[in-house]
Symmetry: C2
Subunit: 440 residues, 2 copies
């Protein structure tokens, strides 16, 4: 009954249903799975284990779950900021994608993203982009857990010159990656209700249903999108998708900023989930999603960073802090989005929103051992009265000392076991010089 | 003509009037003062210097200026969060201050704050609290630059049991610290228009004028304060202060969230400055200050974190990112508060707002050598197209590798030369245990 790994000498933030916090806890791992979570009996020896990790009095918590990324967009981090949305999209991002996104650039951009996420305590992401095969290879090599969808859009896109083949390529992606091991889950990623026809949307969702995979779609991100939907379809984006039959528990609505009470009711009734990306919505001046109403309606809401062109990082610690504060000020109520709610969104609820609720997101027996350890022996983490509050309002990505996915240590003391940072840096240097040269 | 110190091999973000960015720049320091700022001639040797620091291709910029802190409140970091404002203040913060703030706790809380600020690249702060003598000793020992004011309030306060003596004690503080060397500037800190009588406010400002020091005051922080001011004085908080004759170029209005167009005009006309604390205003659900209007009116605006009970950190990198994003989403305009504007608020404009505009806040000849170096060789700082954008939207406090104040290296590679972190940790441990035990 020897364990493979035991993490001890830390305060466990379980993020189980009762949000139990266990001082001096131990997490025991066997075959990549959490086999025991308990308080250590004072003075008792640790159970036998092949490996032990001393958390040194720090915080032990589930790895963070980023419910919305476009990993290769690390390549465009900071390429253009502080611009009107349409100038940014049409003048910079779309041309840069058309000119520079190929399988090898998508691969290296995604590897860079994985390095950033692992260093910052993210163990799972939910991604959608083009050349997603290359993204999947990059993520698989990193050892992270991910839900990945090949992009579907009714325009020529990187790797999909003929939009008539978009569903076919998305289907091929699912078939390639659906059985590729325990870490990668395939998905379908439709860009949005305004860039895909109703027919495309229905066929894409039908593919997702047939394959029993997650269906992700940007929805109601901007006021312009909402207004155009009302004009074109006589319906809000959410109602339009619902009328097409696209909303169910396997659908993840990304952003959901511009919704009304009827939309909230539809989302709740159908069981669709939401990816909330507050920093992207702030930076692009999209608006503030009514997250309090979503939570009150029982809708599953996870947290996401969005791509690095619109944030400009993949840091969920900062995203938690911002989410908590943004909704307090926008409602003028300091009690909304309390620390536990926000941590849950960045872990268990996020996992649930992307279809991995049984797999990751909490320290509970039977779940995969996706665990991070935070150092608390720093000035900005001192004193430490309430661990949940400290995680949201004081902790930084740089406090993460150890990252474990499925029982495997991916990062320890800033060193990533699975990725060659020097090689990534060299490759990104070449690619980013090319991107810079071709800037208008 | 040998220099004392040369920083080389970095990209200089000067934050001078033209916001010049100098690739492969050098900063030469003599007698604690910046003596040269220029691009290095390719292939030329460095000028002779007693010490050189290699920035290793990173970013070299002015140290950050935190225009509003209550340093000892690190002791209450995370003690109570997510509560209604009055429960938080009256149920936790005020009782904790009354029970626990003494000269020695204020000293250790301030030392902890200095450690956190130095590690995060802040070289100057503007503080107001009680037992400010102890704060001043703590800050002076750290080697940081600071503007410090003893608190004035018309209630019994820590160290000021008799409010009738509040001005007298504030005056004694100014007299003690006004000539205490180049790093410490004395100030007067009036708590607010609603906790001080009109008479106290006028006497405090008169003291500040007589001594030619900064006058700091929390103003128009919450809607309740604004409404009560309208009821009690028939005037907004800003107009009330103006009517009392308190507004001039030596007055720093902290928060200034609830102001109208007439208030903006009064602030602009009198030359008073503003300390903008977006994260505190968000977390306490106070509201969003109309910073765009202040800037448009030519008002000097600096950035501040507020105390650690209401943020919960002293991290100006996060504050810059949040400031930029908050105003974009609140105005639905992604072009407002661009990266350069926000960096200026956290450096040169902040220094100007607290009366140190000639002293610090930019890399310019004649200013004090308050300089920080950021490491850019990390995944989240890669690629690097535009340094200003990267500083605001991607950099983290943990990227700061070197901190220099007045030409003296206070921190290098995470090691603080001036503070004993172990001793601070031990002292804070004892104090915070006492605070926790006496919690309701």
């Amino acid at each position: 009954m020897k364990f493979d790994l035991i993490i001890h000498n830390g305060t466990l933030i379980t993020v189980n249903a009762g949000f139990d916090i266990i001082p001096n806890g131990i997490v025991c791992v066997r075959n990549g799975t959490i086999a025991e979570v308990s308080e250590r009996v004072a003075g008792a020896p640790l159970p036998p284990a092949a490996e032990t990790i001393d958390a040194r009095g720090g915080i032990v918590m589930p790895g963070l779950v980023n419910t919305h990324t476009h990993l290769p967009m690390t390549l465009f981090r900071g390429l253009a900021d502080d611009l009107p949305l349409m100038d940014w999209l049409n003048g910079t991002i779309f041309p840069a994608e058309a000119a520079h996104i190929r399988p090898e650039t998508a691969f290296w951009g995604a590897q860079l993203a994985c390095a950033e996420m692992i260093l910052a305590g993210t163990t799972t992401c939910c991604d959608g982009y083009f050349h997603e095969d290359a993204v999947a290879r990059a993520v698989q090599a990193s050892g992270m857990r991910a839900v990945l969808g090949q992009g579907v859009i009714d325009f020529p896109a990187p790797g999909v010159p003929d939009p008539d083949k978009n569903i076919e390529q998305a289907e091929r992606f699912v078939e390639t990656w659906q059985g590729a091991g325990p870490l990668i889950s395939a998905a379908v990623f439709c860009h949005s209700p305004y860039t895909c026809s109703g027919e495309t949307l229905k066929r894409a969702k039908s593919l997702a249903r047939r394959k029993n995979v997650l269906f992700q779609i940007h929805t109601a991100e901007t006021r312009t999108e909402r207004d155009q939907s009302l004009k074109a379809h006589g319906a809000s984006p959410v109602r339009y998708l619902d009328d097409l039959g696209l909303l169910d528990a396997g659908t993840l609505l990304v952003h959901a900023v511009w919704t009304d009470a009827a939309d909230v009711g539809r989302i709740a009734k159908t069981g669709a989930a939401i990816s909330h990306n507050p920093e992207s919505n702030m930076k692009l001046a999209s608006g503030i999603a009514p997250v309090g109403e979503y939570l009150a309606a029982g809708i599953r809401v996870g947290l996401g960073t969005d791509g690095c062109a619109s944030n400009n990082n993949l840091d969920l610690f900062q995203e938690m802090d911002t989410a908590a504060k943004l909704h307090k000020v926008s409602t003028l109520d300091p009690t909304v989005m309390d620390a536990r709610t926000v941590i849950r969104m960045a872990t268990a609820a996020g996992a649930d929103a992307i279809g991995l609720g049984e797999v990751t997101g909490s320290l509970e027996i039977g779940k995969q051992a996706d665990v991070i350890i935070l150092d608390t022996a720093t000035p900005h983490m001192t004193p430490l009265y309430h661990p949940a509050s400290q995680i949201v309002y004081a902790a930084k990505a740089s406090d993460v000392r150890t990252v474990i996915v499925g029982g495997r240590v991916l990062m320890s003391g800033g060193n990533i076991a699975t990725l060659d940072l020097e090689r990534i840096s060299t490759e990104i240097d070449v690619i980013s010089h090319r991107i810079k040269e071709r800037q208008p």
